[in-house]
Symmetry: C2
Subunit: 475 residues, 2 copies
């Protein structure tokens, strides 16, 4: 069995922790690991990592490779989209790529950012779904509802096929409360989980029937796909491939295929699934205190109830709150009435229309070589903490508008300026003059940390000319 | 007329904006200026600055001098307490010092951290109070109540003396709501403002009658008071004077003298006074928006009402809040139900008992030479922004546990290391080795800003040996 993990989050509903540059699947919303790490880890007992594929927006490619490195995930099995075009595009493209080497493989689709609390029954169902899919059915996992949720789509079961799975009678859009209660009572309705299992050829055949234009375009996409040159050779589309992708119809696989096909099977699943759709979901999937709060981080809490409070480094003091969501991050804070959690996207829209950076980036950004954190930004200077991972190096580069001053605080730095190289230990300093070609590298086995002071008349990430880059970012 | 401004705030009710190191009077709670600046500025039309005295805790001496510098306030008229011992001690001590040069001066007492919105009638009343005080009365300003406040003490008027002032019938502790409503209706009750006017000799005479032990101790305090050596020669107590101050009884001037003396006069005042006792006071003294919010700083506000939201640099997004107080600072955040504003001191007590630094300091601290801000603190390094004011210099000092790396980002630095001095401009760097005697000075007319990276095994403010200090901190 092969897996395709759909990592297409846009990062608005979990703002300010999620950003455009850091969507939900790349965050540890619950527990230590990120959601995509949990998604991969959960299925490894039944799907070997060499059969796993991930599809994500290209801006998240390096971070995704980095987060999945310890699983042995190969960057060459990371497919990238230049833009989001809904699940028909992402799934169709993945299926097409997979069909080149394994046209009759069984392919399971998993959203990268959902929670499943009971792994064993889930894996058992996957194995069963594999068997059913082998008979050219399109299998969808239907979650047994535990409450009258109005935030999910539903699937109504049709006639029974075998003891525990059914033809699908119909797919249903998010219902109102009364209807959801009726569904819960009747018992033949399931939440649409977005988890599917099918044979690659069976899916592509249905796409050719119901989305013929997409089927044609997939050919072009596959032809225009190649790994980038560099340390993490993930798959990318050529310029013309990207153009095709942009032109794809934005339609969900449910609307595009599942609702039309007569090969669809629903396999009911009782697996404590949650799509973690808003901050309020945390109350359902996290440990609550005796006043039904979910509190984490550096918090002084007095007399609060039914609230979600997430602190970062800063001290957060909360007093007498009820039904409040409070999410603190170094550069942005959200405080919101719980009943308004669905409207956090309004906040994000407002911030976006105000062209504020907090919609897309945080003060800490990851790069293929490590990460940096902006400690202070003023008009004439900028202070950064830069961490270079063992064995990694920044590109050979220069800046037109700034000089840089580096003080090594931890680890060992290899610094090239012009044609000369030097080694700097902790407590040593170097200046990079404006315009000088330079490169910073960490050849040691411990992280390298430097404090950088930039001075200049224009201090932004765009003032960079790259001459060489081991991650292919100079192309 | 002389003024004594009582600047004794402890910084708990306006936490996290106020701290032990930065109490309310030193903050700009409303408008641009700090509360003590407003207090001084308000009375300058009737009391010349050379007749103004301020009494404050010694830890706030330099900052108080700095804030009052532009008024021409002389540091030699700043009295300092080693510890808070309530208003009898502070007022008695000030009166005693004043009596040495002006035994029969008229002395007006002003709390440093109250708001008065109608200055002209207030100043007129002060002039009248001066006249009444000349007849050896102790005059207290009684504020005409505008609501049934339970947070203030009250004064009941006795028999009329002249058309607009009265003997005091009695002083009354904070009443309950029903009693306060009765007072408001009856109309012969006033809020106890803590503003007093009397002849120095008259007050000292009443102290000798009702607080005879204090009267005796004041002699010792005065004898042990002298200006410090240095650029800001504020008055300080010698070690034995401090010991005496510690032993003073902690009692308010109301309990100690006013309730007992038969010379007390209440002068009713209709002057839009507010003691700014909690964050909720802001709603009364600030501009509200159409949903009764008081919002300032970098805030995205959607559908909030009856809330107080103060942001700092960070983006604060508030959505659907009602009756919430949200105060954001770089290192600590408070979010609190409005009705619980009185309990913020519980938060402060908790933080104090947890020995967290946020109870006393912020990441930005002022010093007589300027200020610094901690940008990042880790176990092995610390990054600071240091600003040295024009003409100022840090002490000649050394550190046993750390080296320091300075990059000048603005202004011109005079740097002495050992016996050699050098001038550094923006974009220049210097290292101060561990153990080296060094000094940083700004001889220019623009502020000097440097980024400092400290490295060492112990990074705290106590690791400093001072050899010379222009502010007398080496004594």
């Amino acid at each position: 069995m092969h897996a395709v993990i759909i990592a297409g989050g846009s990062g608005s509903r979990f703002w300010p922790k999620s950003r455009e540059n850091l969507p939900k699947q790349l965050l540890s919303i619950v527990g230590q690991k990120t959601m995509i790490q949990n998604t991969v880890g959960r299925i490894t007992p039944v799907i070997p990592v060499e059969n796993m594929w991930v599809i994500t927006n290209e801006q998240h490619a390096f971070e995704t490779c980095y987060q999945l490195k310890d699983f042995g995930f190969s960057p060459s099995q990371l497919l990238t989209e230049p833009v989001a075009r809904n699940t028909s595009a992402a799934i169709g493209y993945s299926a097409k790529i997979l069909s080149q080497s394994n046209p009759d493989a069984i392919m399971a689709i998993f959203p990268a950012d959902h929670v499943i609390n009971t792994t064993e029954p889930f894996l058992k169902l996957l194995k069963q779904a594999e068997t059913i899919a082998n008979e050219n059915h399109l299998v969808t996992l239907g979650i047994k509802p535990t409450s009258p949720e109005t935030g999910y789509g539903y699937i109504k079961q049709g006639k029974i096929i075998k003891e525990n799975y059914f033809k699908v009678d119909r797919f249903i859009e998010k219902p109102d409360k009364l209807t959801a209660e009726k569904y819960l009572k009747e018992g033949r309705y399931y939440w649409n989980s977005g988890i599917f299992v099918w044979k690659v050829s069976a899916l592509l055949n249905e796409i050719s029937l119901y989305l013929p234009k997409l089927h044609e375009q997939l050919e072009e996409l596959a032809f225009n796909t190649a790994p980038i040159k560099g340390k993490y050779p993930y798959q990318t589309l050529s310029a013309s491939g990207k153009k095709v992708f942009h032109s794809l119809e934005s339609i969900s696989i449910d609307h595009g295929v599942m609702e039309k096909s007569n090969k669809v099977i629903v396999l009911p699943a009782d697996i404590e699934w949650n799509d973690v759709g808003t901050w309020t979901s945390l109350a359902a999937i996290s440990k609550n205190d005796s006043h039904r709060n979910v509190i984490s981080g550096n918090v002084v809490s007095i007399d609060n109830s039914d609230s979600i409070i997430q602190a970062d480094n800063r001290l957060v003091a909360a007093l007498g709150l009820k039904n409040i969501i409070l999410i603190d991050t170094p550069d942005a804070l959200l405080v919101c009435a719980k009943e308004r959690a669905q409207d956090i996207k309004k906040v994000v829209e407002k911030i976006k229309s105000d062209k504020r950076p907090e919609v897309s980036t945080t003060i800490s950004e990851t790069r293929p070589w490590g990460s940096y954190t902006v400690l202070q930004k003023e008009t004439n200077y900028l202070v950064k903490r830069i961490e270079v991972l063992p064995g990694e190096s920044l590109s050979l580069q220069s800046h037109d508008h700034r000089s840089e001053h580096w003080t090594v605080v931890s680890g060992v730095a290899q610094v090239q300026i012009g044609e000369t190289s030097q080694t700097l230990n902790a407590n040593q300093f170097v200046e990079i003059p404006k315009g000088a070609k330079h490169r910073l590298a960490n050849m040691n086995e411990t992280p390298l940390i430097i404090i950088e002071v930039q001075l200049g008349d224009k201090l932004d990430e765009d003032d960079i000319t790259r001459y060489e880059d081991k991650y292919g970012r100079d192309e």
